[in-house]
């Protein structure tokens, strides 16, 4: 494990160094990524320019949801979303080279495609989150801080697992990979807003099928001291770590299944 991490670090660092050879585009791209996500939040700002609250959620509270969702999503994006490249490599026939090396395919893939420039988005997400935490009227008790930290960790694990599971499923549908955007980017988009704005079917989808609601909505109810207008059981507020563990186990199972299913084109 330690050895693997060491190799991962060296491979990922090599990738960053390689990108750094083209300094201009690298810096440009990192900055653009940051700017992109600023426009992302502007969308929420535009909405709150028109209304003072959304289903009982103030702008600061929605910003808190946005911040926690984006921080978790973008940490996952920096470190794990590289598995997205698996179908592309399968199509090009370069996936095999990962399998013949004495190391997990996932670690190699994530290190090989490691894209530090994506961290540009993380900066903006953290900034929004810090602002939101100051703006919400919440007494930061130890319990609240604990749940808050837990939601970031669990949220990252949940988003990371969604990346791995959806990418694994594309092994069976190489050409239709875009479907998976509905679950990855779709759940990131949906969790920027409180679940109460959604109809019953979308809420069920994001609670039971793609459990993105556990990334931030349920724990945020506790942290912000809000009542669930949907009347869900109160234990859901603390269920995120369990959901995260289940998702990680499921992700590692599905990934292994996909690898076993994989047949090289052999040409």
């Amino acid at each position: 494990m330690v050895e693997t991490l060491g190799i991962y670090r060296r491979l990922a660092f090599a990738r960053v160094r390689a990108d750094w050879q083209y300094r201009g585009p690298f810096i440009g791209y990192t900055i653009t990524q940051g700017l992109i996500s600023v426009l992302d939040f502007v969308q929420i700002a535009v909405i709150f320019g028109r209304v003072s609250s959304l289903q009982g959620w103030s702008v600061a509270e929605v910003a808190f949801l946005y911040g926690t969702s984006s921080v978790a999503f973008h940490i996952g994006d920096v470190f794990v979303s590289e598995v997205e490249f698996a179908p592309k490599r399968i199509r090009l026939g370069t996936f095999d080279s990962l399998l013949v090396r004495p190391m997990g395919a996932m670690v190699q893939l994530c290190a090989d495609e490691f894209a530090f420039r994506r961290a540009g988005k993380l900066v903006q997400a953290v900034a929004i989150l810090v602002w939101a935490m100051a703006a919400v009227s919440v007494a930061w008790t130890p319990a609240r801080v604990g749940v808050f930290v837990m939601m970031l960790v669990a949220g990252t694990a949940i988003f990371g697992s969604i990346w791995v599971i959806t990418s694994s499923l594309t092994f069976w549908m190489i050409e239709a990979g875009e479907v998976m955007n509905s679950f990855t980017y779709g759940s990131a988009f949906a969790t920027e807003y409180p679940m109460v704005v959604f109809g019953r079917w979308l809420r069920r989808l994001f609670t039971f099928v793609v459990p993105a609601a556990f990334v931030n909505y349920y724990p945020a109810l506790f942290v912000l001291g809000k009542s669930d207008r949907l009347g869900g059981p109160s234990w859901r507020r603390f269920a995120s770590p369990f959901v995260a563990v289940v998702m990680v186990l499921l992700a590692s199972f599905v990934w292994r299944l996909a690898l076993r299913h994989y047949r090289s084109t052999g040409s």
Binding site: P25, Q33, I47, Q55, A176, V179
Partner: protein
């Protein structure tokens, strides 16, 4: 003209072969449509109208715009030509006895034409099953909508062509392309209808070419534009299409002076 038609037809057929990709795209657009429609519906629980839009207008806007995202190339700020500029293959494009800009335009029109069929229609149908949409029965509005969409496609091509040409100088199109994607996404109304913007920002957005990608065509479809406003909107689309195409020609002429063929 004949060549233009043949290139466009082949691009149409090329894209029609990617069936599972088309299905995947339709699925994703529909899911995002539902999420976005729910968010905007929540806004209308607090107030009856935003600008000239009521909730039915907004939800209709969402499902029409989801269908036209890919038609307008909203996910990619560049053309695949950019990759050929990086690799140097563009020289073979340049010494063909056809106009490069027209050739690329034809192929993009063919692509957009195909995507106007399945990808534009299915999300709208799915949205129609779940929501009460406001689609006009007057053929006149559909016809004007089609004209406006066609102008939008040409304008969007003109924009992406210019972004693509920057590759001749930068040799890396990703940053420029991403930036262009986001700016276009935001100011076109694809991210959120621009009637939601504060007034000053809405006025500013209407001066840019991007409103022609979604806001103008869909406002026409919803019957929001009448008389002189309608004429002015279409005229601005024509003007932008011409300006961007002419600019593209000029930049292309300058760029080709820079092409250096390696080896040989």
């Amino acid at each position: 003209m004949r060549l233009f038609w043949e290139v466009a037809r082949r691009a149409f057929r090329r894209f029609s072969t990617y069936r599972s990709a088309t299905f995947a795209g339709v699925f994703t657009n529909t899911v995002f449509g539902f999420i976005q429609a729910a968010i905007l519906t929540a806004v209308f629980r607090q107030r009856a109208t935003v600008g000239s839009f009521d909730v039915r207008d907004a939800v209709t806007f969402v499902f029409v715009s989801q269908g036209f995202l890919v038609v307008m190339g909203a996910f990619s700020g560049h053309l695949t030509l950019a990759e050929r500029i990086v690799s140097g293959d563009v020289v073979t494009d340049l010494y063909r006895p056809v106009d490069l800009q027209l050739f690329e335009l034809a192929s993009d029109v063919g692509r957009a034409g195909f995507q106007c069929t399945v990808r534009a229609v299915v999300p709208l149908l799915c949205g129609g099953l779940a929501f009460d949409l406001r689609l006009p029965s007057a053929p006149r509005l559909w016809l004007l909508f089609a004209v406006s969409v066609a102008l939008g496609i040409v304008t969007s091509f003109g924009h992406r062509f210019l972004v693509t040409l920057t590759t001749f100088w930068t040799l890396d199109y990703r940053a420029a392309s991403q930036m262009a994607t986001v700016v276009a996404m935001f100011f076109s109304g694809f991210a959120i209808p621009i009637v939601f913007f504060p007034d000053w920002l809405e006025r500013f957005s209407r001066l840019l070419p991007y409103v022609g990608f979604a806001q103008i065509p869909i406002e026409i479809l919803l019957g929001k534009l009448h008389g002189l406003d309608l004429v002015a909107a279409l005229a601005s689309q024509v003007a932008w299409a011409v300006v961007l195409l002419v600019l593209g020609r000029w930049v292309l002429a300058r760029a080709t002076h820079r092409v250096v063929v390696q080896g040989g």
